[in-house]
């Protein structure tokens, strides 16, 4: 609480500075890709004269606003992969200058523009932030050639994969459900296709990916560990184009173009897997009756009414289908829809209003005479967000509010005829979540930058419903029925967010941050990876909001004209109100699921090293994480701290890309990590004629280490003015390393008087090829 007041005070004390900036003049505008009209997020805009040098990055809509005293300046705009733009401007009245950057067409130009890139990573107070360059994704070799945002972020320091080939991830010791995954501001509850081997993000449709591992800005809230903010492309507003790819297991196609010249454009992208179709084509009659596929569609339209008003509509729809004819069907998917309206009040005040809908649902059906049944479950949110950005001399003030209505339908079982399964419907639950935030990015001096924020989070569990109360041993206490709209329980939390950077010289800086996050939507799953049947619960009279506090300290350095970036960060995290469940808990279609839960706390700490080479023929990065993450529950492990499942001591990734020639480029990834912590038996005994294992400490053992090398090559075919194409070849796990996926214990087959440990490995060496085209 004390910390909060200090924050409020500091925040308020900056207001006079902001208001006193009035005698300065603002220049604002939008930075775009000159070829496609796509707005550029995070482009560096600099206003330079002999005595003045101010700069900042464009916001999520490519907008910038800089203030400066009257005078003559150079306006310099740069962005990775684009030619630098310089123009002379005479600042004597408020100006709107929109800038179009030309893509760098040859290697040389890329090098030049990259060389001019500002050392934003050094100077910006934001820490714990990693961005994925979508162009790098084309080259990074991946499983079965399907380029994937969620797999790429697993190569970053502090991010651990949920399992081999899996898109689930853990950030800085947090759980998989503690990541806020946003697609054009809509929450994506389940980011996995095909049991997690592919993510819901079709790389073709994506413009920008930012991962916040710490120091989350105040406009984000609702999850403890990270924010993965994914933004879709707007669509080319200059000319119509089609691009796509044919892969081994999936194909994709994207169309984009202007609807009204320079005013409106659209983008639509779709992909579908065809594992099942392929198997049928190869005449595998065994699989003819089965279904195994997913598809997804991303679409976006924008309309620019004038320079000050723009409307964006975007949506995602994805579905997975798994089925065996006359036996079993399972389908699941996300739907999101976002409507956003940008309004520029004046050169300094930028506003965005969003209405967002998102939904995740699954259904499992048993198609089986006497055991037929269908289980359906869904989670659905309706969001309203209003965000303002106010640009002033040395300040960027951001404030707004967010409101969300949650609905969870935990489980609906229907069965027909003489089924042995009874119909059952578990009561729906409703929640209301509000966030009110303000933050200020303040350039105190040339050397000292601050990012201060405060977020007020409110959560209410709403009726109607019969709500049970359980005591701290999870024993039933009482039950009460609430009317529709009646408040069952309210929670308020203040979340301070603070980051500061001090630039030692132009190339070196130190940064520090503290942030608190809270979380009111929880997944009941401790198996580590996301499953289509994940169960969601909200905070309630029994479940308290999860709270996470994190402090971090970092050192950032660029060398060789910003051609090398280096960072080192250390962090410590405290987690409260963590959830686990009792042994033998049966969570499915259980109205009393809250009676099966245990509450505890956690701690996580670590060191992250990151080095990146951004220039030259050889580019890539290396990341290393040394970390520990532990949990403590009264009912588990005699109440002492034990390693969380995702606790891995060492984690190393290396990504390298090399341009051989204008047409050929090659790439390689290497990963090494300590095995997950697991519980192995410490003894054995006989029960009912079966060897039964005796366990002592939870997660006190380690799976074997994992390592893997993947290689890839891209060949660009000869370009014509109209048509471009390329081939991407990749080999996953080229050394055919047998990595541990699961370990189980059993009696030896030829000597039942002994037991043995058996390791399952998933993917051996897997080559793949993808053909990409664009016209």
């Amino acid at each position: 609480m004390k910390i909060t007041f200090i924050f409020l005070f500091t925040l308020l004390s900056s207001v006079p500075f902001i208001l006193s900036a009035q005698q300065r003049i603002s220049i604002s505008g939008t930075v775009k890709d000159g070829a496609t009209g796509e707005t550029l997020i995070g482009a560096t805009v600099k206003l330079q004269s002999s005595g003045q040098n101010t700069g900042l990055a464009t916001n999520a809509y490519g907008f910038y606003s800089i203030t400066a005293p009257t005078g003559e300046y150079n306006l310099i705009v740069s962005y990775s992969g684009y030619q630098i733009s310089t123009q002379k401007v005479l600042v004597n009245k408020a100006l709107t200058i929109n800038i179009a950057l030309a893509p760098a067409s040859t290697l040389q130009e890329v090098q030049i523009s990259a060389g001019e890139l500002k050392n934003e990573n050094v100077k910006n107070p934001q820490m714990g932030l990693n961005k994925i360059n979508m162009k790098d994704l084309d080259n990074v070799p991946v499983l079965l050639g399907e380029k994937d945002v969620l797999k790429a972020i697993q190569f970053l320091p502090g991010v651990k994969s949920g399992g081999e080939g899996n898109t689930g991830f853990f950030v800085r010791g947090g759980a998989a459900d503690q990541n806020l995954i946003l697609l054009d501001e809509a929450t994506v509850y389940n980011s996995a296709h095909l049991l997690g081997f592919f993510s819901t993000f079709n790389a073709d449709a994506i413009k920008d990916v930012s991962l916040y591992k710490g120091g989350m800005p105040a406009q984000y809230g609702g999850r403890l560990s990270s924010v993965l903010d994914v933004k879709m492309q707007d669509g080319n507003d200059k000319k119509f184009g089609v691009e796509g790819g044919l892969g081994l297991i999936a194909s994709r196609i994207k169309a984009e173009g202007p609807l009204v010249q320079n005013k409106s454009s659209f983008m639509i992208s779709a992909r579908r897997t065809y594992i099942d179709l392929l198997l049928k084509a190869f005449g595998d009659s065994a699989l003819k009756k089965n279904t195994l596929n997913f598809y997804d569609i991303n679409a976006k339209v924008n309309y620019k009414f004038d320079d000050k008003n723009t409307l964006y509509l975007s949506g995602y729809f994805g579905q997975d289908n798994i089925g065996i004819k006359d036996l079993f069907a399972n389908d699941w998917g996300n739907t999101t829809a976002t409507m956003r309206f940008n309004h520029i009040f004046n050169n300094r005040l930028f506003s965005n209003t969003s209405l967002v809908y998102n939904r995740y649902s699954y259904a499992i059906e048993l198609i089986d005479g006497q055991n037929n049944a269908k289980v359906k479950s869904l989670i659905r949110d309706l969001n309203f967000k209003q965000d303002f950005q106010y640009f002033s001399n040395n300040h960027m003030l951001r404030f707004g509010l967010q409101g969300t209505r949650h609905q969870i339908s935990p489980s609906d079982i229907t069965a027909s005829g003489n089924s042995s399964i009874n119909p059952l419907s578990i009561e729906k639950r409703y929640g209301l979540e509000f966030g009110l935030y303000v933050s200020d990015e303040w350039k105190l001096s040339e050397k000292f930058n601050l990012l201060m924020g405060l977020r007020l989070s409110q959560f209410s569990l709403l009726g109607p419903g019969k709500i049970n109360t359980y005591d701290n041993t999870a024993a039933f206490v009482s039950s009460k029925t609430y009317k529709s709209g009646e408040f069952v329980k309210n929670y308020f939390n203040l979340e301070p967010r603070f980051s500061a950077s001090y630039t030692l010289n132009d190339k070196n800086s130190i940064k520090a941050s503290y942030n608190r996050n809270t979380q009111n939507i929880h997944i009941l799953n401790n198996s580590g990876t996301s499953a289509p049947t994940d169960q969601y619960v909200m905070s309630s009279n029994n479940i308290k909001p999860e709270i996470g506090d994190q402090i971090a300290l970092g050192y950032f350095k660029n060398t060789e004209d910003n051609g090398y970036e280096f960072s080192a960060e250390v962090y410590y995290k405290w987690l409260q109100n963590q959830i686990d469940y009792k042994d033998g808990a049966d969570l499915t279609a259980n109205a009393e699921v809250e009676s099966l839960l245990l509450y505890g706390k956690g701690r996580a700490y670590g060191l992250e090293l990151y080095g990146k080479k951004t220039k030259g023929r050889l580019t890539g990065w290396i990341s290393y994480t040394l970390s520990k993450t532990e949990r403590q529950f009264d009912g588990i492990n005699q109440g002492s701290y034990f390693p969380a499942r995702q606790d891995r001591t060492h984690d190393l990734s290396l990504v390298a890309m090399y341009n051989l020639s204008k047409r050929w480029s090659v790439s390689a990834n290497y990963i090494f990590n300590t095995g997950n912590s697991v519980t192995y038996p410490a003894g054995k005994y006989d029960i009912g004629g079966l060897t039964t294992y005796y366990y002592t400490d939870r997660n006190a053992n380690r799976m074997p280490n994992t390592s893997r090398l993947d290689i890839g090559a891209t060949l660009k075919a000869k370009e014509t003015r109209r048509f471009q194409s390329s081939w991407t070849f990749s080999v996953y796990n080229v050394l055919n390393t047998k990595n541990p996926y699961a370990i189980r214990f059993r009696d030896k087959e030829n000597d039942p008087s002994r037991t043995e440990a058996v390791q399952t490995s998933l993917f051996g060496i897997i080559p793949s090829v993808t053909y990409n085209f664009k016209f």
Binding site: Y680, P681, Y685, D686, T696, R744, F745, V758
Partner: protein, 272 residues
């Protein structure tokens, strides 16, 4: 529960077919060796005859699967109607009472004194639910037909029932633990498939001519929690499914094992 078992089984088959490139190998793992623990396995059935309480000790993981019997214990069983039975050690670690029949609704309490430590457990004998008949369920998965044994029974309506099944194929006990309750099937005619899983993949289905023996037990809630927890710990999926732990025992003083008063119904079939 039935539904869950079926879904779980099918998911496993699916996962198996999807992860076409997966492979298994035996590995050496470093394990801690725990001290030997007392293991009590006590059963009182509704079948008139000999009732058995087995007391053994656990061994380190690296030892052979021979479990030292615990001799010299004083074992008594009482019920809530003032009866008491003193069990005698017939062979090392095996304590029996020659003629006893459990009755539905009675609460049975086991007391075992081992080296001056008294271990106590109670269990209620549920109402009997019997096997109506057995048949073979054929799963048409991936082209070839998989045969599995299916138990049919009528669940009594309006009360919570829990069951455990023991299956033997050609006299050899299946290594799977089968436990289910009627949370989703109360009052219905229930067909329940007991998926047969052997040590390796070619033992995971029934063949024509196999002789299948199935014993159905009606068990109380605590005993069900014991068997159900055990059944959930078969390791599958990334990092091995649910985190394994010792199933919650109804015996106090940290003894491993269980004490179960249950009814028994048995049937046999030959797979056609």
């Amino acid at each position: 529960m039935i539904m869950l078992n079926q879904i779980k089984y099918i998911s496993l088959l699916l996962a198996g077919s999807f992860t076409f490139a997966s492979c298994e190998k035996v590995i050496e793992v470093k394990l801690d060796n725990a001290e030997s623990q007392v293991v009590i396995e006590g059963n009182i059935t509704d079948q008139a005859g000999q009732q058995l309480v087995k007391i053994t000790k656990s061994v380190p993981y690296t030892a052979t699967n021979t479990y030292p019997p615990v001799s010299g214990a004083v074992v008594t069983v009482t019920d809530d109607n003032g009866h008491s039975w003193t069990f005698s050690e017939t062979t090392a670690g095996r304590y029996t009472f020659p003629a006893m029949k459990g009755e539905t609704g009675r609460i049975y309490t086991l007391k075992a004194r081992i080296n001056n430590v008294v271990y106590t457990a109670s269990s209620v004998m549920p109402a009997p639910v019997g096997i109506d008949f057995l048949d073979v369920k054929v799963f048409n998965f991936g082209g070839d037909d998989q045969k599995q044994a299916q138990v049919h029974y009528k669940d009594p309506a309006g009360i919570a029932n829990q069951y455990r099944f023991v299956m033997k194929v050609n006299g050899i006990q299946s290594k799977q633990v089968y436990a289910e309750n009627d949370r989703l099937t109360d009052g219905n005619e229930v067909p329940s498939v007991l998926f047969f899983t052997g040590n390796n993949n070619d033992q995971d289905q029934l063949k024509t001519g196999d002789v299948v023996d199935i014993e159905m037990q009606s068990i109380d809630k605590n005993v069900f929690l014991y068997w159900y927890t055990l059944s959930q710990q078969s390791s599958n999926g990334p990092a091995g499914g649910a985190t394994p732990g010792n199933p919650p025992s109804n015996i106090d003083n940290k003894a491993l094992g269980y004490f179960s008063a249950h009814t028994v119904s048995q049937k046999q079939m030959t797979v056609k």
